[in-house]
């Protein structure tokens, strides 16, 4: 188990940031999703033992978050969301200092800083003052300083915020490589669903401080065997009307029709309708939920319950 929380509640004055949150997450690449104010950052702070909880308990890497905060922070690498720098140092000094703060010896930290700066692609800029770095370079610098001590768990809070597409892809590639090829567990908090989907295998969806959904992304993106995406060679209008006439639900999405066939019917209905209109079916596959749909469903269901 990577981490678990049980009945965790945290309030800031009248605002309940975490509301009896219980979650247990396996090792691997974990995406943390949720709208603004859903409690993502508070959950990260709870995991790092940075906040006092009103109630509940939990552990990270088998260590109690109430008693072993410093040990947890030693074994975890964290890159905060905000732009933050150790001032007046060059890149190599920045990363080495981050290593020293975790407890590395100066010589080890320097050697390791060179390695991780090369890894994140900042090798050429290692002797430049960090104040002169671009936004993308600063994000990669934060990533380098978070992994300098080779943590067991890397926590990234909105790591692609404010980055251009190329820089964003570089950070995603690095994070994915760490999670999938280097055996490092990653907790990746982001608003950007494609980013989470690219990096993570497992996702947690938070809303109003509660757990809305969790599971492996591939399982959450379930296949709907009574719903199909269909594309024809020619005009889809008559085909759609014919399907509607036999009781199918039909919706047009971009260049495909999403057809829901009635219970008890088979996809044969689609072939028969196409044959009846003299059309060729060029594309047909069972509909699969996107991560966006999973997220929106989870959030909307909570809204309805609320």
């Amino acid at each position: 188990m990577l981490f678990q929380l049980e009945d965790v509640t945290k309030t800031y004055g009248p605002v309940t940031a975490l509301n009896q949150l219980s979650v247990a997450v396996p090792t691997g690449a974990i995406g943390l999703l949720g709208p603004n104010g859903s409690g993502k950052t508070t959950m990260i702070r709870a995991l790092l033992g940075l906040i006092a909880l009103e109630s509940g308990s939990g552990s990270v890497l088998g260590m109690d978050i109430g008693r072993r905060q410093l040990d947890i922070r030693r074994d975890v690498g964290f890159a905060p969301e905000d732009e933050c720098l150790f001032p007046h140092v060059v890149g190599i000094g920045f990363v080495a200092y981050a290593g020293e703060l975790v407890g590395m010896r100066r010589t080890d930290a320097l050697q390791r800083a060179h390695e991780v700066l090369d890894y994140v692609g900042l090798g050429e800029a290692r002797y430049r003052k960090v104040e002169s770095y671009s936004t993308g370079m600063k994000q990669r610098l934060k990533l380098a300083s978070a992994i300098v001590h080779d943590p067991k768990l890397l926590v990234l809070d909105e790591p692609t915020n404010g980055m251009d597409p190329a820089g964003r892809q570089e950070v995603l590639d690095l994070t994915r490589d760490l999670a999938h090829n280097k055996g490092m567990s990653v907790l990746f908090s982001s608003h950007l669903l494609p980013d989470v989907e690219f990096v993570c295998d497992y996702v947690i969806v938070l809303g109003a401080g509660r757990l809305l959904a969790e599971g492996k992304i591939q399982e959450l993106k379930q296949v709907h065997y009574q719903s199909f995406e269909v594309r024809l060679k020619a005009d889809m209008g008559p085909f759609a009307r014919r399907l509607a006439a036999v009781g199918c639900s039909v919706a047009e999405r971009e260049d495909v029709l999403v057809v829901g066939i009635p219970d008890g019917q088979s996809p044969r209905l689609l072939w028969e309708a196409a044959a009846g209109e003299g059309e060729q079916i060029r594309y047909l596959r069972p509909q699969r939920s996107t991560l966006e749909e999973v997220f929106l469903d989870a959030v909307n269901n909570t809204g309805e319950r609320g």
Partner: protein, 350 residues
Amino acid sequence: MPIFDQGYQHWSGQLAGHAWRWLAITRHGLRVALAGRATRLMLFVAVLPALLLAFVLAMWGLLEQKSDLITAIMPMMGFLDPAILAGPRPYRVEIWTISYSYFLRTETWLAMVLILFIGPNLISQDLRYNALPLYFSRPLRRIDYVLGKLGVIVALLGSVIIVPAIAAYALGIVFSLDITILRDTVRILLASVAYGVVISISAGLLILALSSLSRNSRYVALFWIGMWFVTSSVAGVLEAVNVEQRVHDAVRAATAGEAPSDEQAAAERDWRPLVSYTANLRHIGECMLGTDKAWEKLIKLQPKNTRQMSRLVVLGSQTPWYWSVAVLAALMVFSICILNFRIKSLDRLK
């Protein structure tokens, strides 16, 4: 598939425990501070008084031995009383005490300047560049952070006050060639080291508190100058007004045929020197060294009619030492409260 992956490599070294984690902050702070040419120059200047102290103690050692080496410069030592020149050993403690007193007084002033160079950046720059999340997301507590920053001040002030004081002491011992000097003067060494610690911690906490109040280190420097110069100036003005008043009262009492007021008691009750931060520091230093007692012994060598004037010139504030300690302690508590309020861990950061 590459034969050797030059990408990410795992690291299997040992991490140190938590107890000395603050030392990493101190080391980093020193590296940043010493990267500035102005700071290095200031450190060099601050060490110069120690060279003078060492020279004086060495000369005194030679004088005690009546060494031939000192004969050549004897005419230049006319400022010393002939009784001292004739038999220097009984005045050993007094001369050492007064030498250290001048040294520490000078270093107090230089320490204020040195802090002006290095202190303002210590926390204000971290606030400006939002570095606190980087610290507190690592295995550090707020106390580690403050200790680490305080360590920068203590290390630099220690290097210009404590280390030179010890080095000069060792040199003085070497030149005296008399083992009894250790017994006579070890108290001076301990007082100097203790005073160095007091000034480092007091001034360190104060500049850290000021540094945490603004993201702009120029403002912090102005706060510090205000704390140093303005309080000294205000204390000076208040004391001048007080002296004027006492003279006026004395003249009035003499005219009216009344008994003169007790000047010593009035001096002991005078709270005005307490307004100055540096005067409080100096007063504690003088009390630790026992400077007034040393001066009293030397003043007794002078003609009776000049003794009172000499006392006025050389003796420091007559207020009880614990008043100054109370003022400094209150300032330190206030500084700690400010630091506690301003240095927020991540649970209180945005």
